[in-house]
């Protein structure tokens, strides 16, 4: 069946407009999905993959040797993406730059600055000194005003059991 010339034009312009609207809807859905239905938050996901394991072949090796240099050497968290590790007095200025605070064999902390929220996120792995098989991971955050340094991640300051929203 042949459509009249005017109807053919209408069908063509409707198809083009429909395709453009669909493209726009996909673009909007892409942003909504990334903003509100994303996986682990960005700076916090960098911190999570930065936490090293103190166990080697079943032996407890402690956390204090996991300094920035050591984490860089072993490419800690490389499966997530390139992460720069800096010492506890050097501020993190971006999500994939983790300021490391290797406190003692049972305590290890780190900080990373989020570009998304302009806040500093902290993580702390605190193991039981009498039985390092047990321990917990704690979370914290600082406002964007202070320096985002690993030295601020201590047992006294990082006490949240839940990850803060990023």
């Amino acid at each position: 069946m042949r459509l009249p010339h005017a109807s053919q034009g209408l069908v063509a312009v409707s198809t083009i407009v429909g395709a453009l609207v669909v493209f726009g809807a996909f673009g909007t859905a892409f942003v909504v999905q990334r903003l509100y239905f994303h996986g682990p938050p960005y700076a916090e996901s960098a911190l999570q993959v930065s936490v090293p394991s103190p166990w080697t072949s079943g032996q407890f090796t402690g956390m204090d040797h996991f300094t920035a240099d050591e984490l860089t050497r072993i490419h800690q968290g490389a499966q997530w993406g390139p992460i720069s590790y800096v010492s506890s007095d050097v501020p993190s200025v971006r999500p994939d730059m983790v300021s490391v605070n290797a406190i003692d064999p049972y305590t290890w902390g780190a900080a990373a600055f989020s570009w998304r929220t302009h806040r500093c996120y902290l993580i702390l792995l605190a193991l039981d000194a009498t039985n390092p098989m047990y321990g917990a991971t704690f979370y914290g955050e600082l406002s964007g005003n202070g320096q985002c340094i690993g030295a601020t991640a201590t047992r006294a300051t990082v006490t949240g059991a839940q990850e803060p929203l990023e």
């Binding site: 453009l20 609207v21 726009g24 673009g27 909007t28 942003v31 302009h118």
Partner: protein, 91 residues
């Protein structure tokens, strides 16, 4: 020939918008990402308006649509150039 040019322009423009927005989502605030969405809809709105106007005036030339598409491409390309350092850093 113009229709192929238009399709290519819109395709490249779409890829650039996707790259720009991806970087903005990783390295910036949600507000900036929403501005990228507004820009997308303004570009789409301009294209739709041009297509509808072309239909209503019964014109056959694709030049106005091509010009609007090219303007969108320039905007998205400008965003890409501005964001190039962040793109190079892998964000």
């Amino acid at each position: 020939m113009k229709s192929i040019g238009l399709v290519l322009t819109l395709r490249v423009s779409g890829i650039l918008w996707g790259t720009d927005t991806d970087v903005l989502l990783s390295a910036s605030t949600p507000m900036i990402a929403w501005i990228a969405v507004v820009v997308l809809w303004v570009e789409i709105g301009a294209l739709i308006a041009t297509f509808v106007l072309r239909y209503r005036t019964q014109r056959r030339s694709l030049t106005p649509v091509l010009l609007v598409g090219a303007a969108g491409l320039v905007i998205n390309l400008a965003g890409y150039i501005v964001l190039l350092p962040a793109i190079a850093m892998g964000f």
